[in-house]
Subunit: 337 residues, 4 copies
């Protein structure tokens, strides 16, 4: 941690900060510059330390040095994590593809779609049973009945089930039916939920919050890892910016960045990341070229009559073409599909 | 709802959309323009309708007309809502001021501070017992013990307690001790929590999510209102942008905007909205001049040793000066203080 | 400047950076931390130095310490700058108000409007003669004829003329007629234009770019100051964010921030900052309460028939009410009006 | 254009808007909805029309229907534009690669680097002679001498020269030496410059402004096209968002979006788009997979001693590896390289 003093800081103020650093169990080192003094604090940089130094008189700013996450860091664990759940493997050489409808609508729908998706190469099945909706008047999902429909689709296809859990009290029931517990973007900083998913022992699929920084994203993963659960998949699903031609802005540079900073696998969701069906296949290809370990894609037999997210959902026919294209790109970057 | 067809849309596609609108129980009206056709759908514009029309072939975009919220709307309820809880009144002519530390640290701290704040004109006491923290390694709050300390401070001062509730299962215990249940920015779209707070019957203090639009903010309030609880205070606390000289960007135009669109009172939090103690008093003044119904401000006797948020916390002395300044501004806009 | 080495940096890499710093004429100081080494570079931190150190092997990041601007800094010049041009004074105790139409439309329009605005308390007259327009098909301004109309309005009222100059080659003619040269938000980093305005010797009115940081804004001012022209007014006019209920997001915390970092006066433009006429008066009041040294407001006799920016333009009647309100707020913050 | 009236709009206000639309030469069509009335305006939707209707009493909002650009639109011109300049061809099946240093530093540097880049497959040479710099104290480029050095490099290699022009008055001299005139992100809305480049008859390389929407970007191209110059290359170079781990956020969904809306070719600049050398190759691969027609990449023999942009500049060795990777991805999407 580096404390930058204001140019007009007094000697007393500098000594006060130096003593404060010592009191925190760190070793202060004062560097007198031409215009201003900076004080380095040597030792373990615990979260929250920055906060205690910023209000001190004469302090201009405090610059943290170390990454605030530990267990998610590639410094702590050099080998890459591979998350496995039945048919699904994310983080190895093979690229995992989780596909399915936004919402589970009926048993017939999810089973027949799962059979098609499996045949086209999907390795996981998505489908919302508990749906977080912006409006209280929108369809909120079939809940437990939806979970049972997903389990039937799994029984028919062997596909691992990835489905969202919205509240700590739902973790047991969702964990009973699902193979991977998804934490949605709106819940990325729902710490009770992160902790409950960590405790469940089930693999977690953690979506980036729509305005989360990389540090915040990895710290959310840290909440799960800190419960002894190291099966965490990170999912880039787009961030909120001024852009209006897409629903969100999908920043793929986060893929190689996260892979450098963390050992956790990284999946991209081009459906939410663009919000527009015609942009899903090119962004799926781009995600693989950027090095993504997997894709999550919304597919529906009849997007026009889907109960949610129709505009960003592709048909099985478009999914088939997308898979063929992605297979070629995967080979070009030495991945299998 | 207006459906804009692509310039190259065929007559079949136009008829398909027209029929789809009829099937939804709305009345379609086709307008043939010089370059493209648009189809107006007349009737109740339910949430989710837009989604079903966007994927139809030949559709360029769908433009909603009506606001998606109902109970929060100033169209439905013309008179302004006043939220009352003991000493606190927000939404009337008097401006409410909720002040206190980021975290409740000890009984002594919160009681002595509450006495000072009351003497300086605060009408509510804030203080975190359950703390949502970005890092699992940061101080997470004293939980139930913190709630008891707040209750003691209330017993000493009569100040209404405003404190955050982070999970649905905590609502009963927080509601037992607190007068107003705060929903934090990170939980603005935690729908289980919104519903539980709605059901509690306690007044709610709803913070804007850091990248929430106005419609999303009012729809989050709608979740609470929809449970029959109409005591909701909206709080603007800043949004995430590219700006880096402040912790968040505090957009005060949301104050008059929300007051025009909704009957709910609007409070501003200049502490989180700027993240810098020296910017808190000028933005508190500005909030009042913009018409805010109240302020929420972080105050601590010794910000340098506060357990959280020190950099944005002001001292009781600075709070006293801020209150004197704000009183004058309030009078200038015909509000009392 | 602080160079943070990667945890895995080798001794050779550390020495390489140390030598590089010495070669730049700075004094390196190596601090060996528990997890990683940081190297402080003591001496004059010239722009561009950071860039030369970031690509060196083993370097994680480089943290600048000093502000990159000099002449705009309040460290260099302690007393606040007051910009004066005829009737206009910005930066003293009195708040300056520059009002007028978006575009100068006709001599009759601008003269009659100027007379009204003067009577209502405006101290400067705005009006576009050269108009930067997003579309090549929009009205581009009356150019020199517009300047002459402004000069006539000045002859009638004595109001100082503030008008935009869009290109270096127009500086001489605009400087011939105008009292203050406005540089628009889109041109904030048009360095040829900044230099030409600096060389003109005329006071400059510099609008913040719609995605400019504070450092970039003050460095744009630095281009003007560096030509020996110290008559620069900074104007906050809103930034581009995800918010869609306003045309831009108007962040008033920039007012006290800029006033702390710089000696230059700060004006707020609530017309562009909101894009909505009903939000202009509350944000004008808020700007003054936040400490702004002046306002720039778009006023037109008939906004519905204005040649540009109608939606954000207020009528003289609304301006009269706004001025009365602002006068009271100004008094509440010990400013005159 | 659709005018949405407020729910409380009076019959007089509705008739006023209807008459206003007629007066504009458009045909109004009134649609009486359940909650509010909307009025469609049929006819040519000229820029600026929206502005005249928004301030009318009783109007809630005005929704434009048509794209505001014409000549850049794929509706007007169905076949895709191919821009050709000597060795460079952008927009056909082959992907163009423009590589070179941020700044031209010396003749020896640019010539020797150009020879290497040509051998590695580059089809165009970049290099700044006129440099727009955030700080007046940074290196501003070798100007005309830099142009001459670029011409020498072209004479040695045959590579087309792409270099930035910063001001209208520099267009003649830059056009004398360069093959393609680059307009930088900061100048995307410098309309005098766009017009001058349009008039030059030289191919233009137009970078997206760092907070420009797609409509604004295509309207900037429209300024060039409107001068009869149809040789325009669009370049996505990243946008400004809250993300801080990269210099800008690089949103590749703009590539397929622009290609659908416009006939102009689209190039991606992963150097500015990320600001970090290690992220350049993965994002170059992703850009090609997303369908980009070309790349612009900063390469320097010794990034550590580059006069600008070192942190985002790759070495010729890294460029060689990147080219080999990109060639494979290009083949996977049926493009040549």
């Amino acid at each position: 941690m580096i404390v930058v003093m204001k140019p007009e800081a007094t000697q007393d103020q500098i000594e006060h900060v130096r003593d404060h650093i010592s009191a925190l169990g760190l070793q202060p080192q004062v560097i007198v510059g031409q215009h201003q003094t900076v004080i380095a604090a040597i030792g373990e940089e615990r979260p929250g330390l920055v906060e205690t130094l910023e209000p001190a008189p004469g302090v201009e700013k405090v610059l943290p040095i170390m990454a605030p996450y530990k267990r998610a860091s590639s410094e702590l664990k050099k080998e890459r994590t591979v998350v496995r759940a039945r048919s699904l493997e994310i983080g190895g050489k093979a690229i995992g593809v989780i596909a399915g409808p936004c919402s589970v609508e009926s048993e017939e729908q999810i089973v027949s779609l799962a059979i098609k998706l499996k045949a086209l190469g999907a390795t996981g099945l998505r489908g919302g049973a508990y749906k977080p909706r912006t409006s209280p008047y929108s369809f909120q999902g079939h809940k437990v009945e939806g979970l049972k429909m997903l389990a039937t689709a799994r029984a028919e296809t062997g596909l691992a089930i990835v489905t969202e859990v919205m509240a700590p009290e739902h973790v047991p029931v969702v964990a009973e039916y699902a193979d991977v517990l998804q934490i949605g973007a709106r819940n990325m900083q729902n710490y009770q939920l992160l902790t409950a998913v960590g405790d469940s022992g089930k693999p977690a699929f953690l979506k980036r919050g729509m305005s989360a920084t990389m540090d915040e994203f990895l710290l959310a993963a840290e909440y799960i890892l800190d419960r002894g659960n190291d099966q965490v998949i990170l999912c880039e699903r787009g961030v909120r910016t001024f852009e209006e031609h897409t629903r969100f802005t999908l920043p793929l540079a986060s893929v190689p960045y996260l892979q450098a900073k963390s050992h956790l696998p990284v999946v991209v969701d081009p459906s939410h990341g663009t919000g527009k069906a015609p942009l899903v296949p090119p962004m799926a290809r781009a995600a693989i070229a950027a090095g993504a370990d997997g894709l999550m894609v919304e597919v529906h037999d009849d997007p026009e009559h889907a109960m949610s997210d129709g505009a960003q959902t592709i048909t099985p026919e478009a999914f088939a073409r997308m898979m063929a294209e992605c297979r070629r790109v995967a080979e070009a970057v030495d991945r299998t599909f």
